[in-house]
């Protein structure tokens, strides 16, 4: 009668790489998580046994390999916790709680008109497992991906149509990825197609995507980040305002939400 779906595992680090600059990726042996995780779910990683830093840190799964029991995460060093993680080494083991959040079940998603993914920065990470599952379903996938500069771009698997934007123009379109998206849609590139849009990245980017999708009447799913304490639904710490008043928990009702379930202003913070 165990209802356990979320596992707290001692995961051995198989590899840890500094992609470039402050970007890192690691793969971990965590069969219990790899076997059941869905794209866009996340894990909550403990930074050690000491009490500073106290809380675990949430990271989306950038790799899900049920056959080999391996998961991957990809992160940017932005503070103390991510800095500590950057110093970890292959062979060490770390405590990982997951899989967490709703995630996206590709079989429940209408991919007949294709998928249009919009990612900013490390927001690409959770898209990677999604893309491979969508491609396996023969869906047509466009991916709009923006970063500050070529140095801040993560690698993607092949197979989908990639539209790059960098703020400094060091590669691809020079400007915001939302500008590139807008030009693409306004240009009628999709004809009458109504692909589902899925977006993950900084809040201001999500707001712009929401505005663009509303104008083009495209269904939009956004993946949100919010400060989390528990990550598994017990503390109500990760609230985002709902369209119907009250709040949703990002860690449990999310991180993936239909944009229209969220309060109007919500993507702007």
């Amino acid at each position: 009668m165990s209802a356990k779906q979320i596992h707290d595992v001692d995961a051995v680090i198989i590899s840890l790489t500094n992609i470039r600059g402050n970007l890192y990726t690691m793969s971990l042996r965590a069969p219990a998580i790899a076997e059941t995780a869905k794209p866009m779910q996340f894990v909550n990683i403990a930074l050690g046994d000491l009490s500073d830093p106290l809380l675990r840190r949430p990271f989306s799964l950038s790799g899900i390999y049920p056959d080999s029991g391996v998961i991957g995460i990809t992160w940017a060093v932005v503070g103390r916790g991510t800095q500590i993680m950057a110093r970890w080494q292959a062979g060490e083991s770390v405590r990982v709680l997951g899989p967490l959040g709703n995630g996206l079940d590709i079989d429940e998603l209408d991919t007949s008109q294709g998928l249009l993914l919009v990612a900013g920065g490390t927001g690409l990470a959770p898209m990677i497992p999604l893309v491979s599952r969508a491609l396996a379903k023969d869906a047509e996938v466009h991916i709009f991906y923006g970063a500050r500069s070529a140095d801040d771009l993560l690698d993607m698997g092949g197979g989908c149509r990639v539209h790059l934007a960098t703020e400094d123009g060091s590669i691809g379109f020079k400007g915001l990825v939302t500008g590139l998206l807008e030009a693409f849609l306004d240009g009628g590139a999709l004809g009458d197609g109504k692909p589902t849009v899925i977006s993950c990245g900084p809040r201001p980017m999500l707001s712009a995507v929401k505005r663009i999708c509303r104008r083009h009447r495209l269904p939009l799913l956004v993946s949100l980040e919010e400060r989390m304490a528990c990550g598994y639904g017990v503390c109500q710490g990760c609230a985002v305002p709902s369209a119907r008043g009250g709040y949703h928990r990002v860690c449990t009702e999310g991180p993936v939400f239909w944009a229209d379930r969220l309060d109007q202003g919500e993507c702007t913070r």
């Binding site: 209802a3 403990a46 400060r227 639904g233 710490g237 008043g245």
Partner: protein
Amino acid sequence: MNLSVNIGGLALKNPVIAASGTFGYGEEYVKAGDIRWFGAVCIKGTTLAPRAGNPPPRTCETPSGLLNSIGLENPGAKLVIEHKLPWLAQFDVPVIANISADSREEFSELAGMFAQSPYVSALEVNVSCPNVKAGGIAFGTSPDMCYEATRAVRKAWEGPLIVKLTPNVTDIKAIAKAAVEAGADALSLINTLVGLAIDIHTMKPVLGNVTGGLSGPAIKPVALRCVWEVAQAVPVPVIGMGGIRSAQDALEFIMAGAGAVAVGTGLLIDPEVPRKVTQGIREYCEARGIEAVRELVGAARR
């Protein structure tokens, strides 16, 4: 090795309780942890009417601590009693209902409602929530008001009655005594310390609600001191909490005078804390030939 304790009429198979607000109503917890390691569980602070809670951000990490300003988000007593408690009953772990109110009348009404539920083993009166404007902590900062709130609940509820105290007071012993005089069978301490965090980049308070409640290992010394002071001032058992993550932490509270302990922030970090704490207490006792954890209560003052 006997781990059982009795807290004001509430019999627990072991002294480890899930603290209110860090366990929800159990639905999410059971997906990640094994509820049967708890001697009892305490539900999220529940009010008469549903409450949406405070605007985000609601949490902020501090050195060895956590600030939260959840603001008693809960679906209201009616829904809790009709849906959450019957579901939770399946696990056969005693349930403590944590209640919060803005007035004596409301406390009394709430207590009456929970008295109708067959699934509540004890009531915990929260006179110490720092995150709601009216009521909440105000009842816990004066002996008279604490007496009033406790009295109101006592009249409507016959089972074990626990009053949960705030450390944000000059003399916690005086409040504790008032609660006991009004009929409390046990006391829980401590609730969170009022705190604040500033973001120097935005130049604004981090929390949407400005101030929040500080919990976690940072407050353990303050919590231990409160337990130490109160346990010798009142004749009823004390449930100690504040920063417990390990058996060692729990034993410190027990030796300071706590008859049982609760784990709050620790649960947020590690759903398996109750197992680790319970097993660790057992090992400690077995290694020293201590036959019942009860023998350790208040050991540091003998």
